[in-house]
């Protein structure tokens, strides 16, 4: 088994940032805020966050804020709760949450809650449990969870629970590991994990590990490095992570690295991208791989950042 090519991945992420002009980068321009979070979180997990100028990043983020308080995926793009969370997360990485007008951001996020407790992603009304998680995570980081109806939000999430113990996008939707992370994360942050049948869901999740050691997102699908995060963080939050073979998963992630040019792909020998690089490194962090900082499974931020937020350890 190879080793983690940490420095190569750092170089790769920095090079993606510089390479703005190829077709793929232009295609992804609308979600640059997510990209910033994936890339910068990876750098932080690898101990290289200081390779970027935090002031540049912060001033760019603030240019993406809309007058409603929400953030867009890039300058001039519409606000959406997904990019709002990424913006808040990146600011948290740099310990710069104080640049935010908390009331304004909170107002935007809380205004997206619907009568049944669910959340829409923006003012156009698409409802999904992903947005419930995003809103809960975001307001918890801002310590303003009290500005939404938590009880109703939890009730809606529970209404999306399925026969296999997992969760779907909306009531009736099929279980999917990404969706499960969102629902388990939201229930974890709101202290509501008792709504989960941990043994049933834990078994379904551990059965996502296939022979190659990688994890898939649903039964009878191909494994993909990004599920190292979605599945494993869910298993950790319900304390069932020991039900998978960690060594085999580490090998699968390391085998998916491009050791020459940096970056991690969905499966060995596929093309790399920042998304999979982040989820690969985050997965290794959850697997306690040496040299990678510990990440929190619910907030998807390094543990030291989360503790700084909740205990004010370093910021005072």
């Amino acid at each position: 088994m190879g080793e983690l090519a940490g420095n190569k991945h750092v170089e790769y992420i920095l090079s993606v940032e510089r390479r703005k002009d190829d077709f793929h980068s232009v295609l992804m321009e609308h979600l640059r805020m997510n990209g910033a979070y994936w890339g910068l979180a990876t750098l932080d997990l690898l101990g290289k966050l200081d390779a970027v100028d935090s002031e540049d990043v912060v001033s760019w983020i603030m240019k993406c804020q809309h007058e409603s308080g929400g953030f867009g995926g890039n300058i001039g793009h519409d606000p959406h709760v997904h990019y709002t969370l990424s913006a808040v997360q990146v600011l948290a990485l740099f310990d710069k949450l104080d640049v935010l007008d908390i009331n304004k951001v909170t107002g935007y996020v809380a205004s997206l809650q619907k009568e049944d407790g669910s959340f829409s992603g923006d003012t156009w009304g698409e409802v999904d449990t992903r947005f419930s998680y995003i809103a809960i995570c975001c307001l918890s980081i801002l310590k303003r969870l009290d500005s939404m109806d938590v009880e109703k939000a939890v009730k809606y999430i529970v209404s999306c629970k399925n026969m296999d113990g997992g969760f779907g996008c909306t009531p009736g939707g099929e279980s999917h590991a990404g969706q499960i992370l969102c629902c388990v994360g939201a229930l974890a942050i709101t202290g509501s994990l008792h709504h989960i049948d941990k043994d049933l869901l834990g078994w379904w999740l551990c059965e996502r590990q296939v022979k190659s050691g990688g994890l898939n997102g649903r039964p009878e699908k191909l494994p993909d490095v990004c599920y190292s995060w979605w599945v494993l963080s869910s298993l950790i939050m319900i304390d069932r992570a020991h039900w998978i073979d960690k060594e085999k998963l580490i090998k699968f992630i390391l085998d998916s690295q491009d050791t020459e040019n940096g970056g991690i792909s969905d499966r060995p020998d596929d093309a790399v991208d920042v998304y999979h690089t982040y989820f690969g490194v985050a997965g290794l962090s959850l697997l306690e791989y040496p040299g990678v900082k510990a990440i929190d499974p619910a907030y998807a931020l390094p543990v030291n950042v989360v503790e700084r937020i909740f205990f004010g350890r370093c910021s005072t």
Binding site: F23, H30, W124, D128, M237, I238, D245, L286, F310
Partner: protein, 727 residues
């Protein structure tokens, strides 16, 4: 990138990519300018359509098109035809976008948005879906959309059920179709009023899924559905009280909360608990809510029913739990007389105690026991140290025979003339499935087949004896899990945990078995011939604890030398005073969260575990007072910690667990966390501690000093409970 091979870029590709990028960038800028200036001309609309065709994930363009629709409808002559044509344009844009990427959230939502406005025909939607579901029968966007369209069209549940049957017929491995079938069938079952018709449906489904299982026994899809059917078979099961403390008919002798040395726990009917907090534990076979002073009535000369508050023993702020505790205040009992007082507890005579699916407690229970107080002896000021070495324990069978009342088992069943709650249909169904899966396993080595058989056999045993005193199939099940550990080594820890639960059921299945693990503790002999009774389950390869319903009476428990990484469920053991968890695999202090509920716990060993060794804490979200999960009980606020004392925040996990305990003895040696700094922190949170890692320390001096530095000077340092009580 999903599924795209890693290839080195060729120079000519780079050039082509740059040219394409330039064109796309121009289109994007043009679009944004139209959007920001609210221009909805044909030219502008075409630009957005073109952009979405290339990049369906460009969400702002979908928003723009919705604004444009609103604008165009307003500007139109509002005839149905022109309005319809505005919306029809959108359906075309969506179709083009989906052709490029049929997993685009934005495109699918735009279509829903258009249809929900009610100006478009729904005739083509099912055809469109057929096309997408043929191309990828697992596309969950398409399935979600299908449920949406089926509802709009008013399609019958039966028609949709037929559709899943067709798809499963084409390919047994279509988990999405099985999932949808479970949703549809749940709806149908809900409507059936007659039990027999639900049973017919479920029986037919067993036949249907068995076909799939035979076709490919290694495919997971059908097996998950089979597990769900099993759950449906039992769904009608009403909650049942399976165990309690005290046991009905017992005669208890209780003394105040004195030290172990003064009060050897030498019999199962003698207890040293705080008289003002005498616990009554109710253990149900499933999670219930509604246990309170109106559903449970207590009759006794010294306890007022309404003074008793029932609490769910659940590690989070839930209103439901399998285990409930009520504390009686017995401080009125006369210590100088040995007269016994009768306590009668009745539950289930009024409606209100019910399961999560609304079923009421099936059988009313009456629990009656007597309590007498033991005269208080003079208290010794010093505790005696509890040592867990092998030579401190001795078997004393005749004494134990007398000390352990037979009431421990089947007590509830006998007292309440228990009658089976399972139907012939349920028993018949399980027996049939056992034989079917056995047949299947005769021709295949299917891993999930074996798991299913193990679960069926355990369900069968539980059904014939809900108090799990008979474990007819335990040996076979243990064998199956051992086999699975070899067959599927990646998941061996799962099988080990399942095996462990079965093993414990077996170990505790009868009084005779139990006696083999009970010993007298000889370490404390100052005031009695026999020492406390200790249940010793040490060195049994237990990786997961269970069968707590059988252990409610235990006051001294040795679980050392096992493979425990969690003690989930231990909160039910309200009488525990001494607990040895040494040499296990506990990874963090948050894993000790269940101990916070054990108000009698005095002596604890967690030596030689893995606390402090791991960077990832797997129990920080399942614990009840974590500041990260807004769990209320302790308000962890920035301002309650003085900046000069970082210990509480550095060791918040330990602080959280220990602050609710009154330990007199703690062994913690052999964990990565135990350095000098940590050890000097412990007396701050455990002011009653007399022995730390075997050393008798006079911590009083340190305590006074440290407490002053921690809590003394700053009025802002306070820990506030949810009740606003400042400690």
């Amino acid at each position: 990138m999903h599924g795209r091979p890693r290839t080195a870029p060729k120079p000519e590709d780079a050039a082509a990519s740059a040219a394409k990028a330039q064109k796309l960038r121009a289109l994007q800028s043009q679009f944004l300018s139209y959007h920001h200036n609210r221009i909805y001309t044909k030219e502008a609309l075409d630009a957005s359509a073109k952009l979405l065709e290339v990049n369906p994930e460009y969400y702002t363009a979908w928003n723009y098109r919705k604004l444009a629709v609103e604008h165009r409808v307003k500007e139109s002559d509002s005839s149905p035809e022109s309005v319809k044509s505005v919306f029809d344009d959108e359906l075309k844009v969506v179709e083009n976008a989906l052709r490029q990427n049929f997993k685009s959230y934005g495109a699918w939502y735009h279509r829903k948005w258009v249809l929900s406005k009610g100006h478009s025909s729904l005739d083509h939607e099912l055809q469109l879906l057929d096309r997408f579901q043929k191309a990828d029968s697992r596309n969950f966007h398409a399935w979600n959309y299908r449920r949406f369209v089926a509802a709009l069209l008013g399609r019958s549940v039966e028609d949709e059920l037929q559709y899943t049957e067709d798809l499963i017929g084409n390919n047994f491995s279509n988990y999405s179709a099985w999932h949808n079938r479970s949703m549809l069938l749940s709806e149908i079952l809900k409507k059936k009023e007659q039990e027999s018709s639900s049973q017919d449906i479920i029986s037919k489904e067993y036949e249907f899924v068995l076909n799939a299982l035979y076709t490919d026994p290694d495919d997971q899809s059908g097996w998950f559905y089979h597990l769900w059917l099993l759950d449906q078979t039992f769904k009608a099961k009403a909650p049942l009280l399976v165990s309690s403390w005290p046991v009905p008919g017992s005669d208890l002798v209780v003394s105040g909360n004195v030290s172990l040395a003064d009060h050897p726990l030498s019999s199962f009917s003698e207890f040293a608990v705080a008289l003002e907090r005498f616990p009554v534990v109710l253990y149900f076979n499933q999670t219930v809510e509604g246990v309170n002073s109106s559903t449970v009535t207590i009759q006794s000369t010294f306890v007022q029913n309404e003074d008793v508050t029932w609490k769910p023993l659940s590690p989070q702020n839930s209103r439901a739990s399998k285990v409930w505790v009520g504390y009686l205040d017995l401080s009125g009992v006369d210590h100088h007389s040995s007269a016994s007082h009768t306590v009668e507890i009745k539950l289930g005579h009024h409606q209100g105690i019910m399961s999560s699916n609304g079923l009421q407690l099936s059988i009313p229970f009456d629990l009656s026991f007597t309590v007498s107080a033991k005269p208080l002896e003079t208290q010794s000021s010093k505790e005696e140290k509890v040592a867990w070495e092998e030579d401190r324990f001795y078997a004393c069978e005749t004494h134990l025979q007398l000390a352990i009342p037979s009431l421990c088992y089947d007590g509830i069943a006998v007292e309440n003339k228990y009658e089976p709650t399972t139907s012939d249909w349920q028993i018949g169904t399980i027996a049939e499935e056992i034989s079917q899966i056995r047949n299947l396993l005769a021709i295949s080595d299917s891993k999930i087949g074996k798991i299913t058989l193990a679960r069926l056999l355990m369900a069968h045993d539980a059904m014939s004896s809900p108090y799990a005193t008979k474990t007819v199939h335990a040996e076979e099940v243990l064998g199956l899990y051992s086999e699975l550990m070899k067959l599927d080594s990646s998941h061996s820890q799962y099988y080990r945990d399942e095996r462990s639960l079965v093993l414990l059921q077996q170990l505790l299945s009868s009084r005779e078995m139990l006696l083999r693990y009970c010993f007298c503790y000889g370490g404390i002999t100052s005031s009695s011939t026999y020492g406390p009774i200790c249940l010793r389950l040490n060195n049994q390869s237990i990786s997961r604890m269970g069968s707590f319903d059988k252990l409610l009476w235990v006051q001294m428990l040795d679980l050392s030398d096992n493979e425990l990484h969690s003690i989930e469920g231990l909160e039910a053991m309200q009488l525990l005073q001494c607990l040895n968890l040494g040499r296990n695999k506990l990874r963090s202090f948050t894993a000790l969260d269940p101990l916070r509920y054990l108000k009698s716990l005095k002596v604890l060993s967690i030596s030689h575990n893995e606390i402090g060794l791991h960077s990832i804490d797997t129990t920080r979200y399942s614990c009840s007072a974590s500041p990260l999960s807004h769990n209320g009980e302790i308000i962890w606020s920035h301002d309650v910690f003085p900046p000069e004392d970082s210990d509480v925040t550095n060791y918040w996990e330990a602080f959280m667990v220990f602050k609710s305990l009154e330990l007199t003895q703690l062994d913690i040696v052999g964990n990565a966390v135990t350095n000098e700094k940590f050890k000097s922190f412990l007396p701050k949170v455990l002011p009653k501690l007399q022995f730390l890692d075997g050393t008798c320390g006079d911590f009083a001096f340190i305590q006074t000093y440290l407490l002053r530095s921690l809590f003394g000077h700053s009025p802002s340092v306070s820990l506030i409970s949810t009740h606003g009580y400042v400690q």
